[in-house]
């Protein structure tokens, strides 16, 4: 199930990638769409995307992964239409 906000219709055949807060500022971008043909994204994981995108910081110890707005393991295989977010250290409340 892909859950999206109304204003951001997912592009078929892509993975939507979101960055937040300090991570977004260090990377210089907040959103990208990564091509992923349906059925052909098998094997592509958040960890691989993290490396390919050359994102700053350390995945795992500092940065958490959410897939379709749920915390997820960085090695979860992604599928076309997924919303992937990299979350820097949380500081709410």
């Amino acid at each position: 199930m892909v859950s999206v906000v109304a204003a951001d219709v997912p592009r078929v055949g892509t993975i939507r990638i979101l960055l937040f807060a300090g991570l977004r500022e260090r990377a210089g971008w907040g959103e990208q769409h990564w091509p992923a043909n349906p059925g052909c994204a098998a094997g592509l994981t958040p960890r691989e995307l993290w490396l390919q995108l050359q994102l700053p910081g350390e995945l795992g110890s500092q940065v958490r992964v959410a897939i379709n707005r749920q915390f997820a393991d960085a090695d979860t295989p992604l599928r076309a239409g997924d919303e992937l977010a990299f979350l820097p250290p949380i500081s709410g409340g």
Binding site: A21, A66, R69, Q70, P88, I90, S91, G93
Partner: protein
């Protein structure tokens, strides 16, 4: 033991769990929100035990500088979903039935409320423990990020929460 003079009450146990969660992009008054929340629980149905926590913006930044404002970024969609899930898990773990979570987003000024957690229960222990635990849960597992706007012009993202 039951007699005509001693009717069994229909207590809070039989009620559904009631969770209310809101994000505020402008200031909210914790006591006003609490009043509305309590008004939905009138008379005998009122919780015998209620625990609240209010968190406000300090006037001082992490480095000791005066703070102009705190900026609260979040992940729309995931935030609401996470808060709902954290609240539901925490309430069912502690067997409490009423839960209120209010959280600011956007620019928050010193002295303003950032977060309000309130728990209504039949016993003080579960109410207090659930309130404490839910606060910790949302501080660490709801996608919020704080940036300090300091009076010396610095803007710094915080990399964690103040110690418990």
């Amino acid at each position: 033991m039951s007699s005509p003079f001693c009717p069994q009450s229909v207590g809070a146990d039989t009620e559904a769990m009631l969770i209310k969660i809101d994000l505020h992009s402008t200031g909210f008054e914790p006591l006003v929100v609490l009043e509305h929340w309590q008004q939905a629980q009138s008379g005998i149905a009122a919780s015998a035990a209620e625990a609240h926590f209010i968190g406000r913006v300090r006037g001082v930044a992490a480095d000791g500088c005066a703070l102009e404002a705190l900026e609260l970024e979040h992940y729309p969609g995931m935030t609401e979903q996470q808060l709902e899930q954290l609240a539901r898990d925490c309430c069912s773990r502690h067997g409490v039935n009423r839960c209120l979570v209010q959280h600011r987003i956007g620019r928050v000024l010193p002295g303003e409320a950032i977060v309000l957690v309130a728990i209504g229960a039949d016993r003080r222990g579960p109410a207090q423990r659930c309130c404490q635990e839910l606060l910790e849960a949302l501080k660490h597992h709801a996608p919020f990020w704080k940036r300090e706007w300091r009076s010396d012009g610095n803007r710094e993202w915080l990399s964690g929460n103040t110690p418990l």
